[in-house]
């Protein structure tokens, strides 16, 4: 079963799920942008994040979001650099900004490759979610493909993300219900 979600919805859910798995706020924002970016380009971004959070719940070792953010912050890519991460697909959204204009970055793994262009184009196929070594090299720009305008999210991934997101909600208490939203005895007139 797959669910039709708006892109904004899946982005918001991804941010909450990453936060629920213990990622800092700023890193959760990166995760959300990455998921939306992948979905827009036809990749299963939600499934990748669900797999990542399950594999790294509470920790951040081998996190492709953290690795991608660090590369993006540095603003330049050393040709041939290698990183070891889970769910390497989640690195792809960070690579376009590191490619020279009119060129691209090749993300290669044992299980397959993805190419990302400076213009945000992305082509390749689904990669294994397993922890593994990734090599990043300069390459020719990929072709620009069609962009998705909705997210088709598999039920299993959706449930995983919803469970992580639920950790960010404070349990309901009578006190919170009565006072937290500032409501009085009645809000009718």
């Amino acid at each position: 079963m797959r669910h039709d979600l708006s892109l904004g919805e899946v982005q918001s859910l991804a941010a909450k799920a990453a936060r629920g798995a213990g990622r800092p706020h700023g890193m959760s924002e990166e995760a959300a942008f990455a998921v939306r970016w992948l979905i827009e380009r036809g990749f299963d971004g939600a499934g990748a994040l669900a797999a990542l959070l399950q594999a790294t719940d509470g920790g951040a070792d081998g996190c492709p979001i953290a690795a991608g953010a660090a590369l993006s912050d540095a603003g330049a890519l050393t040709d041939g650099v290698q990183v070891t991460v889970h769910c390497p697909l989640l690195l792809a959204p960070f690579l376009g900004g590191l490619a020279p204009s009119d060129a691209g970055v090749l993300l290669s793994t044992d299980a397959g490759d993805v190419r990302v262009g400076a213009d945000g184009a992305c082509e390749g196929r689904a990669l294994s979610h397993a922890l593994g070594e990734v090599r990043l090299t300069h390459c020719a720009a990929p072709e620009q493909g069609a962009r998705m305008r909705r997210a088709e999210v598999a039920d299993q991934a959706l449930q995983v993300l919803l469970e992580f997101a639920a950790r960010t909600y404070a349990p309901a208490t009578e006190e919170s219900r009565a006072k937290g939203a500032g409501a009085g005895v009645t809000d009718n007139d």
Binding site: G8, M27, A60, G180
Partner: protein, 556 residues
């Protein structure tokens, strides 16, 4: 003698504008989203129709209202329900409403109506699709509803004082747009000229809801007595649509920094343009005087039972009286009249009066300022952090943006007494007491000032590119991003402490609602309130004949 040249007036300092006390005094203006919508629909001669009416004598059923612009048609699909009184609540945690709505992108087929009938009445528990732009619901003002139905059924008009004291027959609670619950993403409509300004789909929804609600009340009166009279058209316009708004709206201002910057910057630009005018024509002055008198009347008629608002209304009334007196002897013929008037106001008026004056100064100058409406939307795509920036730069940025936060003793309990969180109960946003409730793990990052001060301290003794610091301290990542946004968007950030014990969330709500164009801001606590929308505005069928922009203040 040469005419004095247009002088360049600088925009107001964000340290002045973006304080909670001042944001809590913002007023609607020509650049409010309701007014932008009605001006456009009037200019483009939009056509409106009740395309479908299937509501029974008990007031249960559905109706469709269409709004046809030059390129596209939008349809409000309304479902009317028979709600038992004990189920009526405006809070997010409610599960039933008197009426529920979706704004459909186009003209719905029968199958669309049935799909929406299965989902829209459930609100958050249902799903809408890419064909829907908004999802909303409303509850009746029971006492006014029953009064109006009864009077019309008796062949009489309702009591004017009662109409004035409530102001609406139904109040919306949430009006969800942009991707919520499966609705179309903002990106789907952002390129359409008629929806490119902020919240136009939401404002159109409420505008059409108002038409539906007034038709419904007349229908209910006719159902009771076939000889019931319709509302007198002038009295009919006195009904706006109410809105109950709670805490959920407050985080929006902090979660959309670039958008908020664009709203404020547009208004500040407009104010500076008017202040920069060398002279005012007699006609301009007459228009201004007319609106100033109406604003004074508005301040007198505006009622609230909440002590915070009562104090502010007293201040506003005194300010409007002072303005009125000053205008009697003010020399509009001397150069730069508006800047002189503004600078007088900065010294003589309180925050309420100053912000009212800022809105009034725009009224005569639609030809100059209305174009700013095109600059109020924002691209809210990802913002890459410039990690090459030196730590010293980031510290200097914090010192420039958040000087007050650096002078604050954050260990004092009152400074971070509050914690923003989201409840598991229907995801209602709430505000807790940090010391009394165990909420730290659920805290939302809604205190940029506190976070900036913490970052400033953490950066002490650091050097080199901020990227290296962020590798070791990812917990400061969101703060660095916000600061880099604020550097390029000076009105993006609230320059105040949003966790202080005395912080009133209604100040944030007032700032946002003023940009919507809301009137009669009426807090019921420090964190929820009622407003009125489109009160006195022409109805869709009247828009071609009436002024789209003259209704936001009481009649002269």
């Amino acid at each position: 003698m040469k005419a004095p040249a247009h002088k360049s007036v600088p925009l107001r300092d964000p340290q002045v504008v973006m304080k909670l006390a001042r944001m809590g005094c913002f007023h609607q203006s020509r650049l409010s989203f309701m007014r932008i919508l009605l001006r456009r629909m009037k200019d483009e001669a939009w056509q409106f129709a009740c395309a479908d009416w299937a509501v029974d004598a008990r007031g249960v059923g559905h109706a469709v209202y269409s709004a046809e612009g030059p390129e596209r048609t939008y349809s409000l699909v309304a479902f009317a329900h028979d709600l038992p009184p004990e189920a009526r609540s405006d809070r997010v945690i409610a599960t039933a409403w008197d009426a529920t709505f979706a704004l459909f992108d186009g003209v719905p087929e029968a199958a669309d109506i049935e799909r929406l009938r299965g989902n829209v009445p459930k609100q958050e528990a249902g799903r809408v699709s890419a064909r829907e732009l908004t999802l909303s619901r409303a509850n009746r003002s029971v006492r006014l509803w029953d009064h109006v139905v009864g009077r019309l059924a008796d062949g009489r008009q309702p009591d004017l004082d009662l109409v004035e004291s409530v102001g609406y027959l139904m109040r919306t609670t949430a009006v969800y747009g942009s991707a919520k619950f499966g609705a179309a993403d903002r990106a789907e409509i952002a390129d359409r000229p008629e929806l490119s300004a902020p919240f136009q789909a939401e404002m159109l929804t409420v505008y059409l809801i108002r038409a539906f609600v007034l038709d419904l009340v007349e229908h209910m009166a006719r159902s009771r007595n076939a000889d019931a009279v319709p509302l007198d058209p002038a009295l009919r316009r006195r009904f706006g649509i109410g809105n109950s708004t709670g805490l959920g709206m407050a985080p929006f201002l902090m979660n959309h920094p670039r958008l908020i910057h664009n709203w404020i910057a547009a208004r500040e630009w407009a104010l500076a343009e008017v202040r920069g005018l060398a002279q005012a024509t007699g006609e301009d002055v007459d228009v201004f005087r007319g609106y100033a008198a109406r604003a004074e009347r508005n301040a007198q008629e505006w009622q609230s039972e909440h002590p915070i608002q009562q104090a502010k209304l007293a201040e506003l009334r005194a300010d409007m009286a002072a303005l009125s007196e000053h205008l009697e002897r003010f020399d509009f013929a001397a150069p730069h009249p508006w800047d002189r008037l503004w600078r007088w106001g900065e010294g003589a008026l309180g925050l309420e009066g100053q912000e009212q004056l800022a809105a009034l100064l725009l009224e005569p100058y639609g030809a100059i300022v209305d174009t700013a409406a095109h600059c109020m939307a924002a691209d809210e795509g990802p913002v890459r952090i410039d990690g090459a920036r030196d730590v010293a730069d980031i510290r200097a940025l914090i010192e420039a943006v958040h000087p007050d936060a650096l002078a604050t003793n954050w260990d004092a309990p009152e400074e971070q007494a509050r914690v923003w969180y989201v409840s598991a109960e229907k995801l209602e946003p709430r505000l807790g007491e940090r010391a009394e409730e165990d909420l730290e793990a659920y805290a939302q990052p809604l205190c940029p000032a506190r976070d900036a001060a913490a970052l400033h301290a953490a950066l002490a003794g650091e050097s080199g590119p901020v990227a290296e610091f962020l590798l070791r301290h990812p917990e400061h990542r969101h703060t660095v991003r916000r600061l880099q946004i604020a550097e390029a968007h000076p009105y993006a950030e609230v320059r105040d402490n949003t966790t202080h014990a005395d912080m009133a969330p209604i100040d944030l709500l007032r700032a946002k609602l003023s940009f919507f164009g809301a009137t009669r801001f009426d807090p019921r606590s420090d964190r929820w309130l009622r407003i009125t929308m489109f009160q006195n505005a022409p109805f869709p069928h009247e828009l071609a004949a009436l002024d789209p922009d003259d209704w936001s203040y009481p009649a002269p």
